[in-house]
Every structure is written in C-alpha cells, then in structure tokens.
C-alpha cells in the first residue's frame, strides 16, 4: 500500500503522458513550459480558485504529452492558495512525471522539495536550472553524482538559453520509474514516522511515509482526507499523531526542517562546490553601486548625461532631426508635396489645409516624422538598454528614501519612469500604487514636472546650445518637483506605505531584446501620434480660417508679455495643449527661425514643461481620479507653470544669468 495507484499504473504508448512542472517561483518553470509546448496552450482557473494553471500539448519523439505548468510551491506542506493548488495537482490526480525545476544558485535551499517529492513516491525528474548564472558565480554542480545519490535523472540546464532542453525532452520520453533510495532521518524521527505510517490502511496517491509526515506537520487537509479514508482507524491515527507532536513540544516542523537540511547537506557533499571566495560578478558589483546613494546618484547622473543629454539630446534631437527635417523633408519632400498639392487642388483654402502654415503635410507630418520620430527612436533605444539591464528596480531602491519625503515610495518609480516615455500611459499606471494619497500625488507630479520623451528630447536639444540654460531648466524642474511633492504630501493626510521588492539580477542587455522593444515602442508611438498630429493640424487650420486661432494667440499675448516672451510663443502653448511633444516641436520651430534669446528660450522651456497636461493625459486623469481632482490638478499646474515662468524671468532679468 502507500504509493498511488495512478503512479503505479505505468504509461502505455497510446496514452497521453502527463508531465507536471513544479518548483519555487522564478526558477524558470514558465520558460521551460513555453519551450516545451510552443503555441498549443490553454489557461484555466483551477476549480474553485482564482489560481490559473496552464496546460500545453506536445508530441515528443512520437509520444503525446500534456505539460502542466503548476503555480510556484516551496514544499509539499502548503501555505498559500497557489501552493495548495500545485499540491492538489500532484496528489489528487498524480501525473506520469513530475519535473522539479530548481535554481542551481539555491540548490541547498531548494533540494529539500526534491526529497519530499521522491519520498512521496512521485516519479520525479530533477532539472538544475540557471546553470549559466551559477557557473558565472563560480559554482559547480556534479549532476551525475547527485543523480546517483537521489536515484532519479538529474539534468543541468539553462532553459532561458535553451541549454538542456534536448536532454529534458529525451528524459520525458525515456523516463522509467527508478528505485529511489530511502532518505534516513534520525532514529527518533524515523520511529515517529513509522508509528503513524504503520497505522495507515487506506489507499493514497502518495507514499505512507509522506502521508505520515504531512499528518505530523499538522496538515489539516491531509488529516481530513485520511479521516475519510480510514474511517474507524482514524481515531487511533489522530491520537498517535497528537502524542508524537506533544512529545516534541509542538516543534515537529522545526525538527523536520533541521533533519531535512542534514539530509540535503549529506546529499550535496562533493556535489555542490562553491568558490572559496564568492566570485562577485560585474553585474552584482554594478547592482551594489547603483543602489547605494553615495555611488548611485553619481552613476545616475552619468547615465543621464550620456544617455539623455549626449545620445537623445545631442545625437537624436540634434544630428538626426537636422538630417530628417532639414535635409530630407524641408529640402526635398515638402517642396515636392507643395507642388503636387497646388497642382491637384485648385482652391487655396484647401491647399492651406495640406501644405499651409499649419498644414497636415507641412506641419503635422513634418513634426511627426522630422522632429518627433528621431527623438523618440533614440529615447526608446536608451530606455530599452536601461530596462533590459535591470537598472530600473535599482533606481526604485535608490530614490525610495527621497520619494518618502514627498509621500511616495520607490514603487512610484514605475509611473515616473514610464512618464518619461508617455505621461498619459504613466498616469494610468498610478492606479497600481497602494494608497489613494500616493495615486493623487503621483498624478500631480506627472502632470507637472515629468516631461514626455519627445518633449524632453526637443528641450534638451534646444537648451544644450545655450550655455547654462539646461542647468537652470533642470534645477527649476527638480526644485518644483520636490517642493510641490513635499507640500502636497503634507496637505494630503495619510501614511506612506512600506516598499520592498525582490531585485532581479543585473545583466548585459541583449541586442535582440533592445531592438524588439525599441521597434515596438516606436511603432506604437508613431501610430498613436500621427493621427493626433493630423487632427491637430486640421483644428489649427480651422482656427486659422475662422480667425479663432489668431484670437487665441492675441488672447495669450499679455501672458506671454508677462513672461518676457514674444507673442509667437503662444502658438507653442496652444500646440502643447494638443500634445506636449507638439508644443515642444513648435518651440523648436520658433527657435530655429531665431525667434528667442537665451533667457526667453529658458523661460519658455520651463513654462512649457510645467504647462497643463495634454488632452489625452487630462482624459486619463479624469478617468483615474475623477473630474474634481483632474480639474484641480489642471488649474493648479497651469497657474504654477505661468507663475514659475514669471518668477524665473524676473530672476534671470535681475541676475542677468542668461
């Protein structure tokens, strides 16, 4: 008795072989599952729970297999709902093969579950995964010796790099139930187990030893199962379990953990060789430097200087924009388009719509393709490199302390970082922050002081040509971000929650990942902005022919005068209301025509960056925070933008800095 009938039933050649992948979370189960199954996957909730389980079908060397990706589990004794589901999948209808996937870097900690699976009599195959990282750390694992000691097949793998996949496939097909050795505990524990196991009379899917151990660990579900199966015998079993637990002063679980640790240590003696001095990888060294304030802040500044200033600002918004806008569009494409439109459309008013001052082609398309696209391309390339290296979670830890002062936590780095891509999307992501207070604060700061990628690129390109302007702009933005955040955090009641996160390893960015992510983001961005730029051009054209646009520019003139700016800058502000990047492109246009001196350029850049969020961002703010909060933020941001612009202009006039 003891071992499940299902386990003993063998696998016929004509029957689908059921293979379950088990293991701790984040050991590469899903990667292995995807590699084995490909596209033939179904995902469903486990009955009566919200836990999802994936099933996939695959034929390996003529054998039809069903692969089951179970939720992460740490031991056969479950604590979470996920672990409960994973165990039920193993115990209620045992698979023909259980593949235990573990992380080679944490072999000592994770091997305990392999012992439990073998003890339970489940047909187990061990995959020692993430071997590439372990080897890089100087860890060696003698898998053949481990295989001898465990009595089950052991495969070294790095599934993310496709290493070991062929061996795993072969092992799935060729697997035959081996005779596993018994793992001996101390005589006292073995006696306790034998005392309970010897009383079991029912039929179970797992071994009597495993059932006895779960009972002794106080597993209520297994107790209920055994009670139903044993009927009259249960009382005696329950009494024995109770006595054994009492004899150990309820420390059975701790005792068992210690004993299992000893078994694992004996198994790994000569199998696991750790480097004498733990080899610290370059990634680990960089990771430590990135999270410590003393080194992390200078590192961040270096990244921003080379990534944003030199690459996005200098190269993207300077060299590339010059090439696309001036050398391609202005020199060749626009004259051709103007000629063509004038030849095809006889009415001047409609010619204006396409190739006029605010024409769809001469303004909308030129802004989208000539100015914005090169900038977002370089920005997303830089962004993808940082993302793929694993730098962002380090940034979250680095700024956590500072963010706590403004009522946020390191978690808010996610919307803030995304905001540099697009503030509209980032505003939507604020819903993931823990408290309403955090969400409002993050929404406000996004609307106020986080420029989106294209706006940032254009402003960097414009200001980098004027010595000192970029420094003034950066200091203004940082100061306003911190002061507004600090004051808003004091005005809004509530506590700042704790922030903790598991750091993924820092890694060398992969070219294929960077290119895919950059291409995807660019495609999404371009498809999104192009219709909006065309729409904005049509509105501006309508505004021009009705005289409304002129009135709006005239209406804003006193405000521009107060800021020390020429009336034409009002155009950039009107553009900016359609989209932040559209406004920045307007400013770029104005500056390239020589319309602004250094002081005016700096004041306009600061005001425009702080100025009211674009229509799309406002709509998301309304959706996420409601009309009241969205309107309040919109009004506050606009007043603060012009107030700050005025103050900056006065300061610059008085000091004569620029």
């Amino acid at each position: 008795m003891g071992v499940a009938a299902a386990v003993n039933r063998g696998v016929g050649a004509d029957r689908v072989r059921r293979v379950a992948l088990v293991g701790n979370p984040n050991v590469g189960k899903s990667v292995l599952f995807n590699a084995l199954t490909g596209a033939y996957v179904t995902v469903s909730n486990y009955p009566g729970t919200s836990v999802e389980v994936s099933h996939g079908s695959v034929t390996i060397a003529g054998v039809a297999c069903e692969i089951i990706d179970t939720p992460g589990m740490y031991a056969l004794l479950p604590i979470t709902e996920e672990e409960r589901v994973a165990r039920e999948l193993l115990l209620k209808d045992p698979p023909d093969l259980v593949i235990h996937v573990l992380d080679a870097r944490n072999l000592e900690r994770m091997l305990s579950m392999t012992i439990q699976l073998i003890e339970a009599g489940l047909p187990t195959l061990l995959v020692v995964n993430i071997m590439d990282e372990a080897e890089r750390m100087g860890i060696t694992v003698a898998t053949e010796l481990l295989q001898q000691r465990l009595g089950i097949p052991v495969i070294a793998a790095a599934t993310a790099r496709k290493r070991g996949l062929a061996e795993i496939r072969r092992a799935i097909v060729a697997y035959e139930r081996p005779n596993c050795p018994l793992f001996n505990y101390s005589p006292r524990l073995d006696q306790d187990i034998a005392a309970v196991a010897g009383l079991l009379r029912g039929e179970y899917h797992i071994s009597a030893k495993a059932v006895a151990l779960l009972l002794l660990q106080g597993d209520d579900e297994v107790a209920a199962l055994v009670a139903a199966s044993e009927a009259d015998n249960w009382e005696k079993i329950a009494r024995t379990v109770k006595n054994k637990r009492f004899e150990r002063r309820e420390s059975f679980n701790v005792d068992l953990s210690m004993e299992r640790k000893n078994v694992v240590s004996a198994l790994l003696d000569g199998v696991l060789v750790l480097p004498e001095k733990r080899r610290v990888t370059l990634g680990e060294r960089l990771s430590t430097l990135a999270v410590r304030p003393l080194t992390g802040v200078p590192l961040l500044l270096v990244i921003l200087y080379f990534g944003l200033y030199k690459f996005v600002g200098d190269f993207g918004a300077g060299t590339l924009v010059d090439f696309f806008e001036n050398q391609l569009i202005e020199a060749y494409f626009n004259p051709f388009a103007i000629q063509l439109v004038k030849a095809v459309i006889p009415w001047e008013i409609f010619q204006e719509l396409f190739v006029g001052e605010y024409g769809i082609i001469t303004l909308g398309l030129r802004y989208a393709v000539g100015i914005i696209l090169p900038i977002v391309a370089t920005f997303f390339l830089f962004f993808s490199v940082l993302e793929d290296s694993g730098y962002f979670p380090r940034l979250a830890l680095l700024v956590d302390r500072l963010f706590k002062k403004i009522g946020l936590t390191g978690r808010a780095v996610i919307p803030m970082v995304l905001g540099f891509g697009c503030d509209t999307m980032a505003t939507m992501v604020t819903r993931t922050l823990e408290t309403v207070r955090e969400r409002i604060l993050a929404t406000l700061l996004l609307a106020l002081a986080i420029p989106c990628s294209a706006q940032l690129g254009v402003i960097l390109a414009l200001l980098s040509k004027v010595p000192g302007a970029l420094l003034v702009w950066s200091l203004c933005l940082l100061l306003i971000f911190l002061v507004v955040g600090f004051l808003a955090a004091r005005l809004l009641p509530g506590e700042t929650p704790m922030f903790y996160m598991e750091l993924p390893p820092m890694r060398l960015p992969q070219l294929s990942n960077i290119l895919t992510k950059t291409y995807t983001r660019m495609q999404w961005y371009f498809l999104e902005i192009l219709p909006l730029f065309v729409f904005a051009s049509v509105l501006l054209w309508l505004g021009k022919i009705t005289g409304f646009f002129e009135k709006a520019v005239n209406g804003l003139s006193p405000l521009m005068a107060a800021l020390g700016l020429p009336p034409e800058v009002a155009v950039a502000f009107i553009f900016g209301f359609f989209r932040r990047d559209y406004g920045a492109a307007g400013l770029y246009d104005l500056q390239t025509k020589g319309g602004l001196d250094p002081r005016q350029l700096t004041v306009a850049a600061v005001t425009l960056t702080l100025f009211i969020p674009c229509i799309a961002q406002f709509l998301v703010m309304k959706k996420e925070r409601g009309w009241k909060v969205a309107t309040l933020i919109g009004v506050f941001v606009s007043l603060l933008a012009f107030g700050s612009g005025w103050l900056l202009n006065q300061t610059l006039l008085l000091t004569g800095w620029l």
Binding site: G28, V43, M425
Partner: protein, 60 residues
C-alpha cells in the same frame, strides 16, 4: 515574456491589458506585468512569427 522592471516571467495572456481610457486611437500595445504592473511593450505579430520560425528551426 519577461517583465522589464521586476524580471517576472509571465505569459502574455496573464498580463494586464490596457483599458482604452486614454481615448487614443488604435489598440493599446502595452501589457502590464501581473506582479509589479510595469508596462511592457507587446511584441509585434510579425516579429513574433519570425521569432517562432527561427526558434522552431533551432529546436529541430
């Protein structure tokens, strides 16, 4: 797919899709990580197809 922020590996269908609340044209090409909610770009269908072709070739 692997989350660009927390490194969590998840299936595309397990990710959180956009709600379209921003009113922007076209469908959202972003998918949020079920663990940390970071927005990850969805791999374009063409690239996915190409990758599957090459992966299959390599596996065989």
């Amino acid at each position: 797919m692997t989350c660009g922020f927390c490194g969590h590996v998840f299936k595309e269908e397990d990710g959180i899709r956009g709600c379209g609340a921003c009113g922007l044209p076209g469908k959202c090409h972003m998918i949020r990580c079920p663990k940390c909610n970071y927005e990850n770009p969805l791999e374009p269908a063409l690239l996915k197809k190409l990758r599957t072709m090459f992966t299959k070739g390599a596996d065989e």
